[in-house]
Symmetry: C2
Subunit: 338 residues, 2 copies
DNA sequence: GAAGTGATTGTGAGCGTTCACAGTCGGGGC
DNA sequence: GCCCCGACTGTGAACGCTCACAATCACTTC
């Protein structure tokens, strides 16, 4: 864009002239080519410094066909989970020497994912990671050959693309088994939106743990991740007699559940135990502090970049599937039944 | 890169040949140039469709010197505020036809901001918005001429750059005046980190409201935005006799305060009233639901893009300063003193 | 009927880099 | 003394697009 002076920004040829070499030698210095006499190298470096030269990455991308830019497609980066994942992705990508171009979707359907990927492809990204926690998005990815190397985060079964995800089933198990171990007869569940793979995995883990223990599997209550939906589920649960333990599919809804219980005079953990999922920074300060399942979003982001970069470098077409284990965080919202 | 077939991706010349026109005519069709016969236009469009041609934006950027990419520099996009702002920015930028390249800083000091901006400039962004809520970042912006059009979000006094921000002082006032209006003798304050401009503005508003009402200005307690720091401040406050109203500089810390009060048997709002700041989605479900000051992060993001695009288009060098007013959200954490 | 006008199209150069290919130079082996 | 080889450097052509300019054509206009 024009320097602060009216002068044109220096280009490689200017540096070459200044250093008394050819433009190619300048290029070699810039690209750490071994066969450059060290004296020549310093001369070029000095010229670069003197002129304040900066290599034009757009021109470079034109010829190399690599932009060193990675695309990220995500859904509602306002939520803690996606935001943390994207943060991890960005850090890892930059560390690996890539720029990150992002597009946030308001609705993550088939068309949306395709458009976003096309959009990024137009821009010339070398690869993309799609944070696709919804079944529709995951399917969109599996079906359409995006043309560019792609990694899915939380993207369900690895079909056409590599996948990095947290073991949601294990997480659901962890939560449920903890409650059963405390002596609860069975565990109720407040689930996330049914089209989210994460919600699906958590229910599955909960159900499996219950069935393995030979306990009654109650019908899960449906939420939409929001505190409000948790609140409503909490009101329903509070009105039931036999509820002593609840596994809520995320911390935000758990907050709503806690709130509803508190309003209805249901004491946690004395009367009912509650376990959340995510371990958002706030959950340690809920009333009571929330026992929850921790997901390492940062690790997921980092891994997704590792996989993507490996695919870019190797050029190999093997699909990977990397699963990050969740962990259990004990706090004050669970106790043995009264 | 490379189509699924081994074949080279079609370029403008291929389309031209297919349509029986010159490459320039293809370019004209692509750029909606008026002087193209409609019959020619359809022929070109058909050729484009048939070949699956997509214009190479990198090549275009090389000659136009415009990448149609905007950079975003932000600090810890894991936090709700920055995440929401960045989300708003991204949506607005895409709507305006720009790509968004993002870099998240872990520490937002002078060098960090400069590096990030240089990094983005290298990539060839047309402009940048820096979410710079810390004094050091704002200063870094004011001092160093970044070379590219830049807009600061929450960036303090407009010096060298345009600024879009929320009126933090008004927010602090709103909170404090509400508590005074309820009949509280004075209002205590739990502040954010002292080098944050937002924290500074909120204290200033609180102090101004107190002084105008002729009330005692107590020494603010220091926090770092985290629930933990709020919790600690809350413990201190709970141990004091004369505290009846507290204005906490953000909702997360307010959560910690609430938690500490609850542990110490201090009832909110019966014994102490609490007001937060931000209106995070969770705050309506705190115990009790938190009265707070709402910031419209989305609007801030949108405005910052508007200002930036105006600067890009107009080419004019005028600096703007756009202030978004906060609003008061009444919930259940405040009441008249006992 | 000559010249002017506006719409439509084509030609060639150039954006700033990297790539492929040629040189040049000095020294070791015969 | 000749040749070969490796280290170093230079030359010219892409990359795929847009820009400036020229050319053509059908009408008007006087």
């Amino acid at each position: 864009m024009r320097s602060t002076l009216g002068r044109r920004l220096p280009v490689m040829a200017d540096v070459a002239r200044e250093a008394g070499v050819s433009h190619q030698t300048v290029s070699r210095v810039l690209n750490d080519h071994p066969n450059v006499r060290s004296e020549t190298r310093t001369r070029v470096l000095q010229a670069i410094d003197k002129l304040g030269y900066r290599r034009n990455l757009v021109a470079r991308a034109l010829v190399t066909k690599h932009s060193r830019t990675l695309g990220v497609v995500s859904f509602d980066t306002t939520l803690y989970g996606p935001a943390s994942t994207v943060y991890g992705i960005e850090q890892a990508a930059r560390a690996a020497g890539y720029f990150v171009s992002i597009v946030s979707l308001t609705s993550i359907d088939r068309a949306g994912v395709r458009d976003a990927l096309d959009y990024l492809a137009d821009q010339g990204v070398d690869g993309a990671v799609v944070v696709a926690p919804q079944r529709s998005a995951a399917q969109a990815l599996a079906d359409l050959p995006s043309g560019i190397p792609t990694v899915a985060v939380e993207g369900g079964q690895a079909g056409e693309v590599s996948v990095v995800c947290v073991d949601q089933v294990a997480g659901g198990r962890l939560a449920t088994e903890h409650l059963l171990a405390l002596g609860h007869e069975t565990v109720w569940h407040v689930g996330g939106p049914s089209d989210w793979l994460e919600a699906e995995g958590r229910v599955a883990g909960w159900r499996a743990a219950l069935e393995e223990a030979g306990r009654a599997v109650t019908r899960p209550l449906a939420g939409d991740w929001s505190p409000r939906s948790g609140y409503e589920a909490g009101r329903s649960l509070a009105s039931m007699r036999n509820v002593t333990a609840v596994f809520v599919a995320n911390d935000q809804m758990a907050l709503g559940v806690l709130r509803a219980f508190s309003e209805q005079g249901v004491r946690v953990p004395e009367q009912v135990s509650v376990v959340g999922f995510d371990d958002v920074p706030e959950s340690a300060y809920f009333s009571p502090p929330l026992t929850t399942i921790r997901q390492d979003f940062g690790a997921v982001g980092r891994h997704s970049i590792e996989v993507l970069v490996r695919q870019l470098k190797g050029g190999l077409d093997e699909r990977e599937r990397l699963v990050v284990p969740p962990s259990f965080v004990a706090r004050a919202s669970t106790a043995p039944p009264a």
